[in-house]
């Protein structure tokens, strides 16, 4: 799949901007029709899109199948909650710290885990995430099994984050900024190196690249962005819940990435949206919506094996195939 997916066409850029504009006015539309509840729902969706995107950077760009991403997601959430407990509510302090804590954690876990590969890497990242999970639910000071409630949302200058619409816009801005950043990274030197490492790791080493450092940094960037998503989710529900750290959370994020499209820039977004919307819609119709979701996922595996985003993209760019620089 690789680089071809990221080659931005002007058309794609316009599509992205139009989508961004649409999402920006969404709260106004929802409020006009009296469905402001869905503002909060879409905020949550965007936060999960951010978390899944951060994992997709590690899995899709870095080629590392990490099964412990919940650790960083949760660490970001708990950092904000713990700081709030200690009277630090400013987002300008707490959110960067959440990112830093998640990044540090990713650095430590990555240093050890990257010694292994393949399935062993999957399992060792899972093991570390489980350790973090059990640590948090065992420590009463950090809320134990109850999680930590936030007295209020973080403060961000004079922005009233307690207003769901304002919070939504902040989340949207974070997601847009992240996507822009990742788009730039993948087209910059670092991104090309990552792409080549995914393609042929030993050859990169033999071209003089310290492969381990590149992978580690990719892992850390992914962790840091998950930390940001964690900071947002803690603010969204005003709760840092241990379930954010659970292995099922790592699994859900991974499923979002695979469904959306591994290595596709918008894969995480598409995956999160697909999964959460399916959940919302299916649970309306049947109590047994999990089974329906399972069948839908099987469909993805066997019919859209590279995920939904690339599938769309292929459809979308079919007419432009002749321009592709291939022979």
């Amino acid at each position: 799949m690789g680089g071809a997916l990221y080659r931005q066409s002007a058309q794609r850029r316009w599509a992205a901007l139009a989508l961004l504009a649409g999402l920006t006015v969404l709260p106004l539309l929802l409020q006009a029709v009296g469905h402001e509840f869905y503002v909060s729902f879409v905020s949550r969706l965007l936060i999960f899109a951010l978390a899944a995107t951060s994992l997709n950077f590690v899995v899709g760009f870095g080629g590392m199948i990490a099964f412990g991403h919940a650790a960083f997601f949760g660490a970001g959430a708990y950092t904000v909650a713990i700081l709030m407990e200690n009277g630090i509510s400013s987002a300008l302090v707490a959110w960067p710290l959440a990112i830093a804590v998640a990044a540090l954690l990713a650095l430590g876990i990555g240093l050890v885990s990257l010694r292994t590969r393949g399935v062993y890497f999957i399992m060792i990242t899972l093991a570390f995430a489980q350790m973090i999970y059990y640590l948090f639910i065992s420590l009463k000071a950090w809320g134990g099994d109850d999680g930590l409630s936030l007295a209020s949302r973080s403060t961000l200058g004079s922005l009233p984050l307690s207003n769901d619409a304002v919070f939504y816009w902040v989340v949207l801005a974070c997601l847009a900024a992240t996507l822009l950043l990742l788009d730039r990274i993948t087209h910059a030197r670092f991104g090309r190196v990552l792409q080549a490492i995914r393609e042929n790791e030993s050859r990169m080493e033999a071209l003089g690249y310290p492969v381990h450092s590149y992978k580690l940094l990719c892992f850390v960037i992914g962790g840091a962005l998950a930390g940001l998503a964690g900071a947002l989710i803690a603010n969204h529900g005003q709760l840092a819940s241990p379930s954010l750290l659970q292995w099922t959370q790592s699994g859900t994020l991974l499923v979002m990435v695979i469904v959306g499209g591994v290595g596709a820039l918008y894969g995480g977004v598409v995956g999160a949206a697909t999964l959460l919307l399916l959940e919302e819609v299916l649970s309306h119709f049947t109590h047994h919506w999990h089974a329906a979701l399972g069948l839908a996922l099987l469909f993805v595996v066997f019919r859209a094996p590279h995920g939904i985003a690339p599938w769309f993209h292929r459809r979308f760019s079919r007419s432009k195939k002749n321009e592709a620089p291939r022979e």
């Binding site: 990274i185 910059a188 670092f190 090309r192 393609e199 990169m204 033999a206 003089g208 690249y209």
Partner: protein, 253 residues
């Protein structure tokens, strides 16, 4: 003779009970083309692995430019000036030929700075692209820049492999059967290329094509069952009785 560029002292390597290399001592001096010959399974590729850093020896020492590199990682050795090619083609099949070489060029931190750059688009770095194109031309791949490496012909892939190694601008080039699977025309081009390079770069060449070896090599070392049997100039090697018996014998026959 000048100071050796590469100095291998008493290197041994075994896999389980098999001794792939036993106490090998060898040197390559600056500007030399040093050929390594021997029957299949003699340990030639294993020795290349030890020098390039793909594997670490169990015993012995490897010095490069006077520094001990025995325990250095592969990428650090490349940065120090040791590059290699593979016996089995090892390239980035899903990138264009140009992107393949551009990666090798970009990897030279001393010339281009760090690759830990996250914002500026790499497609806009014209000097790197120009240099990559020049390397492609040098190995005879001009005009194939935008072809996916995976869809190049086998011989072309071998040439690309060579371009990748060259683009790291090494002092020492480890070539593991660069002409394997090539037609006579392509082989001739590679031989010419090595002759041409010989003045700028030191080369340790593993090759089965004896005509090419005797044409290119300044010195030849013979490896048999993991042991270095003999090192000398081509004429000495031709004359050496043990070498004839052990290796060249079947060439004469």
């Amino acid at each position: 003779m000048s100071e050796p560029l590469l100095n291998i002292v008493g290197v041994s390597r075994h896999f389980g009970g098999v001794h792939a290399l036993s106490d090998v001592t060898l040197d390559v001096v600056a500007g030399e083309v040093h050929a390594l010959i021997g029957p299949n399974g003699a340990g030639k590729t294993t020795l290349i692995h030890q020098i390039s850093g793909a594997q670490m020896p169990d015993a012995g020492r490897i010095e490069f430019s006077g520094a001990d590199i025995t325990r250095l990682s592969m990428h650090a050795r490349v940065a120090a000036g040791v590059a290699r090619s593979w016996q089995i083609t090892n390239i980035f099949g899903r990138l264009s030929a140009l992107d393949n070489v551009a990666l090798a060029v970009q990897g030279r931190q001393r010339d281009w700075g760090s690759s830990f750059r996250f914002w500026a688009p790499v497609d806009a770095e014209q000097p790197i692209i120009d240099e990559a194109a020049a390397w492609l031309a040098e190995v005879g791949l001009a005009g194939r820049e935008s072809t996916l490496a995976g869809s190049l012909a086998h011989g072309e892939q071998r040439q690309l492999e060579l371009a990748l190694a060259l683009a790291t601008k090494p002092q020492l080039l480890l070539l593991d059967e660069p002409m394997a699977g090539m037609g006579p025309e392509e082989s001739e081009r590679v031989v010419e290329l090595i002759e041409h390079l010989g003045r700028r770069v030191s080369i340790l060449l593993v090759e089965h094509d004896m005509d090419a070896v005797f044409r290119l090599a300044d010195r030849i070392s013979v490896l048999v069952s993991g042991r270095l049997v003999f090192t000398g100039i081509p004429d000495e090697v031709r004359a050496h009785p043990e070498v004839r018996r052990a290796y060249l014998g079947d060439v004469d026959a």
